[in-house]
C-alpha cells in the first residue's frame, strides 16, 4: 500500500453537485438507482482504472436505492469512504456496500421527510406565499434563496460528515442528536401547521343570518338626522367610532356565532374531515375536487 488513492476535494465537490440530479431517472423498478450511479461517477473514475473494475463498480451502484433526496448526502459520503478503502485493497465486498446503503436509507428518510417536507418547506413556503399573495416580489426571491441555502449547505456538510465518519456513521444514527432533530421538527411542524390552518383555510358562513334584531334608538346612527355634505360624513364617522351601529338592525351571522367559540373552528373541522378521508384511503385529488364541488353547491344554496 504505497500508492494510496485518495479522493480530492474537487472530486467530492463534483459528486456533491451531481447529487442534485439524484432523482433524474427515478423509476418504478429501482427508484433512484440511475441517479445514484450518476452521482458517484467522478469518484469511481478516480478510484478504478480498468474496464472490469469500472463495470463492477457501476453494476454495484445500479442496485435499488431510494431515500429522501437531501439525506442521501451522508449516505453518499459513507459510500465514498467505503469505495476509497475498497480501491486501496481493503476487503469490502458488494454486499457490505449495499448493506450500508440500504441500512441508512430507511432511517434517514424518516428524518428527511419530517424535517424538510413537513417543517422547512411549509414554513418557508407559507412565509413566501403570504408575501407573494400581497403582490411582493420578495416572496419568491426569499423562498428561492432560503430554500437553496439550507439545502446546499446541508447536502455538502452531511456528505463531508459521512465521508469522514466512514462506516461509523451508522452507529451515530442511533445517537440522540438525530432523534432530537426529528422530534423538534415535528413539534415545530405541528405548531405551525395548526397556525396555518387557523390563518389560511377559509371557511366563511357569513351569508347565513342567524338573527336580525331591531335596535333601540340611539344605538345606531340615525342617518336622516345628520347634517348634509361633508359635515354629515364627519358626524357619522364620529358616531361610528363612539360605538354606534351603522344600521338599524343588528345582524348576527352564523360566522359571528362560530367566531365566538374560536375563530377558525370550521377550518379545523374541515381539516379533520380531510385527515379522516385520507386515512380511509380516499385520494387527495378526489378530496380536492370534492371540496370545489362543495364550495360551488354551498355558494349556490347561499350558505357560503
Amino acid at each position: 500500500m504505497v500508492n494510496q488513492i485518495k479522493l480530492s476535494k474537487k472530486d467530492r465537490i463534483s459528486v456533491w453537485w451531481r447529487s442534485t440530479f439524484l432523482q433524474g431517472s427515478w423509476n418504478y423498478e429501482r427508484m433512484q438507482n440511475g441517479g445514484w450511479a450518476f452521482t458517484l461517477i467522478p469518484a469511481l473514475k478516480r478510484l478504478y482504472k480498468t474496464k472490469e473494475e469500472r463495470s463492477e463498480a457501476l453494476t454495484r451502484h445500479l442496485e435499488f436505492f431510494n431515500t429522501h433526496p437531501y439525506v442521501a448526502s451522508p449516505i453518499i459520503g459513507v459510500t465514498l469512504a467505503l469505495e476509497e478503502e475498497k480501491a486501496n485493497g481493503a476487503p469490502i465486498d458488494d454486499v457490505t456496500i449495499q448493506g450500508v446503503k440500504v441500512g441508512m436509507m430507511g432511517p434517514l428518510a424518516g428524518v428527511g421527510d419530517p424535517v424538510f417536507w413537513y417543517t422547512v418547506k411549509p414554513i418557508v413556503g407559507a412565509l413566501a406565499a403570504s408575501l407573494a399573495i400581497s403582490g411582493s416580489i420578495i416572496g419568491p426571491i426569499l423562498y428561492f434563496v432560503v430554500w437553496n441555502a439550507i439545502r446546499m449547505g446541508f447536502m455538502w456538510y452531511t456528505q463531508e460528515l459521512g465521508y469522514r465518519a466512514g462506516s461509523k456513521i451508522t452507529e451515530d444514527l442511533s445517537g440522540g442528536i438525530l432523534q432530537d432533530i426529528t422530534k423538534g421538527a415535528s413539534i415545530l411542524g405541528m405548531f405551525i401547521l395548526a397556525a396555518l390552518i387557523e390563518r389560511w383555510v377559509n371557511v366563511d358562513f357569513s351569508p347565513v343570518k342567524v338573527s336580525s334584531i331591531k335596535q333601540s334608538a340611539g344605538a345606531y346612527i340615525d342617518w336622516s338626522k345628520l347634517p348634509s355634505g361633508a359635515a354629515g360624513i364627519k358626524e357619522a364617522l364620529i358616531q361610528q367610532s363612539s360605538g354606534l351601529s351603522l344600521t338599524e338592525y343588528k345582524v348576527t351571522t352564523l360566522q359571528d356565532n362560530l367566531n365566538q367559540l374560536i375563530p377558525g373552528l370550521a377550518a379545523l373541522l374541515i381539516t379533520f374531515l380531510c385527515m379522516w378521508l385520507l386515512k380511509k384511503n380516499v385520494s387527495p385529488i378526489v378530496i380536492i375536487l370534492g371540496l370545489f364541488v362543495f364550495g360551488v353547491v354551498m355558494h349556490v344554496l347561499g350558505v357560503m
Binding site: G24, W26, A129, M190, A195, A267, I270, L278
Partner: protein
Amino acid sequence: MNLSMIQIILVVLVAFLAGMEGILDEFHFHQPVIACTLVGLVTGQLLPCVILGGSLQMIALGWSNIGAAVAPDAALASIASAIILVLGGQGRAGVSSAIAIAIPLAVAGLLLTIITRTLATGIVHLMDGAAKEGSFRKIEFWQIVAICLQGLRIAIPAALILALGAGPVKSLLSSMPSWLTDGLSIGGGMVVAVGYAMVINMMASREVWPFFILGFVFAAISEITLIGLGAIGISIALIYLTLSKKGGNSNGDGGSSNTGDPVGDLIDKY
C-alpha cells in the same frame, strides 16, 4: 395578450426547468411561487403571476413526493395556469379562475409524471447495459436523457397552450358564469386543508398534539405575525426538548415511536 417569439421560447424554457425540478426536487423551480413568478417575469406580467404563485403555494404546501408516492403535480399546475393567466389578459382579476384551472392540471400532471417514471424504467435497463461495458459516458448520457424527458413533460403541454393562443383561452375564461367562479374560489379557500391534513397524518403522535392546540390558539390572536408564530414555535420546541431530558427517563423513549395518535384513533373509529 399576444407574446413575442422570444417570450414564447423563454416560457417554454421555464416550463422545461420546472419539469426537471418536478422530479429532482432540489432547486424548487417547480414550486408555484417560483414557477409562476418566472413565467410572469419573462412575459412582463410579473404582479398577477406573483399573486397566483403565492395563492397556489398555499394550496401546495403539503404536496410532497414521499417514498414511491407521487404528489399532485405542482409544476404543470403552476406553469399552465400562469400561462393561461397571462394569455387571458385579465391581470389580477383573472387570478382566482386561474387557481381553479390549476387543480385539474395538477391531476393531469400527476398522470404525466407516472408515465415518465415508467419510461425511466426502460432507461435504467439501458444503463445496466452501459454498466456491463464499464462506460461512464453512456450512464451519464442516459441520466441526462431521463432528466430531459421530465423537462419535456411540462415543456410540451406549455407549448401546446401557447400554440392554441389567447383567443380560445380567453373565451373559455369569460364563458364561466360568476356563480361558478365565486363558488370555485370558496372551494379554493378550503382546498388548502387537504395539504395540511396529509402532513398532519404523517407527523401526528400523542406527544405532539398539544403543540397543535397551542399553535391554533396562538394563531387566533391576529396581532402575531407568521414570523412571530415561528419564533414561539421554535422556543416551545427547544424548551420541551430540554425539559424532557431533565425530567428523567421514566417513560423510556416512548415518544420516538409514532404510534400513539389520539385524534387519529378517534377519526379512525368513524
